[in-house]
Amino acid sequence: MKLQRAFLVSPSPHLWRGISISRIMYLVVLALLLPTGAAIYFFGLRALAILAVSVAVSLLTEYLCKKMRRRAFVMDGSAVVTGMLLGLTMPPTVPLWMVAVGAVFAIAIVKEAFGGLGHNIFNPALAARAFMAVSFPLPMTTWVAPRGLGLDGLTSATPLSGDSVWQQFDPAAHQAMFLGNTSGSLGETSALALLIGGCLLLGLRMIDWRIPVFYIGVVAVFTLALGQDPIFHILAGGLMICAFFMATDYVTSPLTNRGKIIFGISLGVLTVLIRQFGGMPEGVLYSILIMNAFTPLIDRYTGEKPYGLVKRAKDAG
């Protein structure tokens, strides 16, 4: 047999690890399924509707933006992740059209206007939530008790918005907050579900441990130093979902290991400062957006010393 065929010529390496962007994104989706299930369990089918609208509008917006920018639409899963994360940060009673507006903002303004995946400065889901909080202040701060309490439909304060619980060490409240049986945004209430999802991503090495560990650790130490209940602070509000799923967003967090530590510590300090001394009950969202803006600066000054970097006699002289 004479060997005659056209051979492919391309630069080395000729092997690929096979971990693609879409695989990473769908693993994040997988890790979010448990928190999503918890949201539906505690807040009913309305949670499912919010998530469906958020994901569908995110995908549609990305498709239309790519058309307008004359770029290929790649089903890389990133819009699904953004849609799920946005949906999971919604209050249970928010009107669906507002969710749709938020999803359009997340994809069209925060992501595509800056150049699409990889180029956005801010986390799309969080920036969109901030946009919704200023645009629709009342619906975005109306909370209902989860069905688990048997008080379906009643408005209720979130743990962070009440003053009385700050200093108390209350194991019963801890347990409810750990499981998710408390009022709050759809996906943030069940620390257990978030912890499992987060550990899945850590175990698969999809996210680095430094940001969540330093973020949550600093919140615990700082609140303890302020004489408050650190367990309450870890379980309350959006800390768990944001520490594992938002602050670890590749695009908007530092690349370097030292940068990730600085990022995590700064987030912890900012979050406690805002919770404690700011005008809002929760500080996670704005902490992350502020630190997103510092990410390029952090990267610039935290690179590892390259191998073999020494002053050579020749250079000095």
């Binding site: 690929w16 990889g118 010393k305």
Partner: protein
């Protein structure tokens, strides 16, 4: 287990990556490849200056006859790898530089008649100059892939103090098993060559670095070292099987905890590193007077019968692949060298050269490149602790000055960043472009 004390503690690196090993031919003894009908001998098979032809069309040459050489400092002669008539010249692409170079075509007369070899009567009595001359005359270059002329590496400048020799049997590239088989089948020659360079450099420490996926080679080399009574002198360091463990700079860091300065050489930190195939060739050159005209090449991947072959340089890839039963299935890529750093060929008439340690046939498809998502995997795996994604971004934008500031020259192009990249960005290719452009712009010395 290790009573002799020859085998030291296993070492590992936090950088690099586990690659699929695919050492299909680890258990296949070396076979001799058929002599081709014609050999195409590239005059530029070494790093450094190309050679010039010493024979003309119509000349009859003998196997082992010097047919190309240069009087430049960094150069090595090439030899006829079979006997016959010089039928002309042609141009071939020199894989590392992608530049066309001149090659001599020798039509075989089928007799494989050798030149008269001049074995050393008493190798132990040769002076250092005589040894280095024999190594140069034999055309020996580093057989690990870089093809740097060996006699230069073995004659370090006076001001350099060499205290360590590292014999490199890592073979961290997937598929390749030529070094593995050389250690198993020619371990005595490998160590004899090592002893010759020990005499030249008189180091304090001698290590043999072997990845732990070659247990049999580690055990065999241990036996040979004990058999020679050198267990106090030569130590084996097993390494975790990971890519790119076998890179010189990774070895100095792992074995000696010394980092080669950027732009420097291992000898700047007192180390000289040679591949196991190279010391085998040094033994043959110094003791037997044999020039380097053949080497072990692993021909593997999507061929019917993957093999380790003893191949005369200049043998076309076609001959080797056909000897292994031809290409299986829809495989559409032929790689000269390993899958991580090797060069894809478009033409099976391409001749094997001194730096060819493997020929790999595989299926491949061009994958769509996406945007960097800043996941940091390239940084995590980079053995040089660079920021490959930033280097690629600067290079793509033509900001070569920024590449230089970010130490692009430190990259030795192992490609592990690109292997790990989820977005399929050809990072190392962008880096190569930047390095070449910076070298072109640099003021000539």
């Amino acid at each position: 287990m290790n009573k002799s004390g020859v085998i030291l503690k296993k070492k590992s690196s936090p950088h690099g990556v586990k690659v699929p090993e695919r050492k299909l031919t680890a258990g296949r003894p070396i076979e001799r490849a058929p002599l081709p009908e014609k050999a195409v001998i590239s005059l530029h098979q070494n790093l450094g200056a190309p050679g010039e032809a010493l024979v003309r069309r119509g000349d009859r040459v003998l196997t082992g006859q010097r047919i190309g050489d240069s009087d430049k400092f960094v150069s090595a002669p090439v030899h006829a790898t079979l006997s016959g008539e010089v039928t002309g010249t042609t141009m071939v692409i020199n894989p590392p530089t992608a530049q066309p170079v001149e090659a001599l075509v020798i039509g075989s007369d089928g007799t494989d008649e050798w030149v008269q070899l001049e074995p050393a009567d008493r190798p132990e009595d040769l002076s250092a100059e005589e040894i280095l001359d024999r190594i140069r005359q034999a055309g020996i270059v580093g057989l690990g892939g870089a093809a740097f002329p060996s006699h230069i590496k073995l004659a370090p400048p006076k001001k350099a103090t060499i205290d360590t020799i590292i014999l490199n049997g890592c073979e961290c590239e997937p598929y390749a098993t030529s070094d593995h088989r050389v250690m198993l089948e020619y371990g005595d020659r490998v160590l004899s060559g090592l002893n010759i360079i020990r005499r030249l450099l008189s180091p304090q420490s001698v290590y043999i670095a072997i990845e732990d996926n070659k247990e049999d080679a580690i055990a065999h080399m241990e036996d040979l070292i004990i058999g020679m009574g050198l267990e106090e002198t030569i130590k084996i360091v097993p390494l975790e099987s990971k890519y790119p463990m076998g890179a010189e700079r990774v070895l100095t860091k792992l074995l000696l905890n010394r980092e080669v300065p950027i732009g420097g050489l291992p000898l700047d930190v007192g180390a000289v590193i040679h591949n196991v195939g190279t010391t085998k060739a040094i033994h043959e050159a110094v003791v037997e007077g044999r020039p380097l005209i053949e080497r072990v090449v692993t021909v593997t991947g999507a061929v019917k019968d993957p093999k380790n072959l003893m191949v005369r340089f200049g043998t076309p890839l076609r001959t080797l692949i056909e000897f292994c039963g031809g290409i299986v299935g829809s495989a559409n890529k032929v790689i000269l060298g390993g899958p991580m750093m090797g060069f894809a060929q478009f033409d099976l008439d391409f001749p094997t050269v001194k730096g060819t340690n493997s020929v790999i046939v595989k299926d491949d498809s061009a994958l769509a490149e996406q945007q960097c998502i800043r996941c940091g995997r390239c940084i995590e795996v980079c053995p040089m602790r660079l920021m490959p994604t930033a280097l690629a971004r600067y290079a793509q934008a033509g900001h070569y000055d920024l590449c230089k500031e970010a130490y692009v020259d430190n990259c030795f192009e192992c490609g592990v960043c690109t292997y790990a990249c989820p977005a399929n960005i050809p990072i190392v290719q962008h880096i190569k472009v930047a390095k070449r452009e910076l070298a072109r712009r640099a003021p000539r010395k």
